[in-house]
Amino acid sequence: MNVLQNFAIGQYVPGRSFVHLLDPRSKLLFVLAFAILVFLANNWQTYTVLVVFTLSAVAVARISPGYLVRSLKPVWFLILLTIILHLLSTKGGAVYFSWGWLTIEEQGVKQAVFISLRLTLLVLISSLLTLTTSPLDLTDGMERLLSPLKKIKVPVHEISLMLSIALRFIPTLLEETDKIIKAQMARGADLDSGNLLKRAKNLVPITVPLFISAFRRAEELAWAMEARGYRGGSGRTRLRQLRFSWRDAVAALMILLILGLLGWWRA
């Protein structure tokens, strides 16, 4: 059995919904704008706007809620901690509960809800981005968005090529890791016993051959790229073209609408 067979890069769920078909650039900008707007919300009305908007975006993307719940898994502890801290430490308003020095007050409840909501919304919207955009489109979108930075000598093209080659080679290297693990196990390597330090040491016979082979691959790939006429980013054209459509205009209008509502209702 293949040890690493179930490993998937990113969490892209293919589809053809409105959100899927948005230009990756506008999705990236949208998430960025949304992340800023979330911090403008400070009362029930404004948070309702954000929640309603996020939920409808999820509905439009036709992503099953299960994926989004799963995306909250790494942060639920942080959210819980935020809730507890705010419940106990933020004071003000009516006292709902008191037990010795411990009190839970109106402001505390409010802050606990708001801040945990803020975190949840941020995670949900950015998961929606990675759920509806393939890693390739993401790197492409980032390259285009960052291309003005070329003027200040940021190697945008090289970074994006590196990312795309990494995406190409992750499955290949995983397969290889799997082979090496099996080969070392066949030679009697014990990989999963002992304490943490022992286990880390156990990984050496796997990482060393993996690195050697990765370097060899890199060298051969460099030969092949040069043979195929690669001489850097200048004068290159791209197969993948990104085009803004009416959908992206709708997305931009949505952001303006949220901004307007927040500005209006904000305390």
């Binding site: 390739l136 795309s164 080659i165 995406l167 190409r168 499955p171 290949t172 397969e175 060899r216 691959r217 051969e220 790939l221 030969w223 092949a224 790229m225 040069e226 043979a227 195929r228 006429g229 690669y230 001489r231 004068g235 290159r236 054209t237 791209r238 197969l239 993948r240 073209q241």
Partner: protein, 286 residues
């Protein structure tokens, strides 16, 4: 695009090459090589490991620069840093390891890579990618991820990436060495078809004697020099010399050799079918 191609795809005069080392005076991998390969031929270069055949392949594409001598490929000087890019426009190269030459995250992206490097407009790229994938019968895989393909399919994608740039010469640098026998046949059949139908000069570097049988010409290299050069019939007629430098010969040649040394008169045969026919003739005579 019609470029008048020179009559000879490759001309070398006193070509020598040695890898740069810090220690000892560098030993030459290619020694005083005079070679001429006519345009439109299917040429096989045979030799065992360390004979210099893969180094020669890298020289032909300007990946390595000659230490001495002259090398002209498709009319361009291979030792000039600017003209090597012209050579790479005309000479495509398929490497041994199918995994380590695919750059794109999907088949389509990979075929596009060479075109992107040459600044071909995106609309034309689409057309050329379709053509190229069609010529290697991989159209239905255009969106596939390379790691999901078999070794033979990966090599076909690599060839498609080269076909998309419409080369006049394809160099197969042990392109079949890591493939299973079926895939090996498949890739060789493809190379022969491209040679026949598109008129591409093919230089097939290999150590499998069976792969060289259908070539127009076989060049045998040993220790950085050409030791035999001619048609398959002429080269395999010298089976002893091939074996002396550690090269295998096709089964038919080997069997015929054994029969002849045991006093059976038999003409030279290269392929299994010919061998069978000759053996039948012998049988019916007795």
């Amino acid at each position: 695009m019609s470029i008048v191609m020179p009559e000879t795809a490759v001309v070398s005069k006193h070509l020598a090459f040695g890898y740069q080392t810090d220690q000892e005076p560098r030993s030459l991998v290619i020694k005083d090589l005079d070679l001429e390969i006519e345009t439109g031929l299917f040429v096989s270069i045979m030799g065992h490991n360390g004979s210099g055949k893969s180094t020669l392949a890298k020289l032909l594409n300007g990946l390595l620069t000659p230490s001495q001598g002259v090398l002209v490929v498709c009319g361009f000087d291979a030792s000039n840093n600017e003209t090597v890019w012209e050579i790479r426009h005309h000479v495509g190269m398929v490497f041994q390891n199918p995994d380590n030459q695919i750059v794109g995250p999907t088949v389509e992206d990979d075929v596009a890579f060479g075109l992107e490097n040459r600044g071909v407009p995106p609309e034309e790229m689409r057309v050329r990618i379709d053509e190229a994938l069609q010529s290697v019968h991989m159209q239905s895989f255009s969106q596939a991820q390379p790691h999901r393909l078999s070794g033979g399919q990966k090599q076909r994608v690599a060839i498609a990436g080269i076909m998309a740039i419409r080369p006049s010469v394809i160099i197969l640098d042990e392109a079949t060495a890591m493939l299973d026998p079926m895939a090996r046949k498949e890739v060789m059949a493809l190379a022969h078809r491209l040679h026949r139908e598109e008129g591409i000069t093919v230089i097939n570097i290999t150590h499998f004697p069976e792969e060289t049988l259908h070539s127009d010409r076989i060049i045998v290299m040993h220790d950085g020099k050409v030791v035999l050069d001619g048609t398959p019939a002429a080269v395999f007629a010298e089976a002893e010399r091939l074996q002396a430098i550690g090269l295998d010969v096709p089964l038919a040649v080997r069997l015929r050799q054994a029969l002849v040394s045991n006093g059976v008169a038999m003409p030279l045969v290269l392929e299994r079918e010919e061998l069978v026919r000759e053996l039948c003739k012998l049988l019916s005579k007795t």
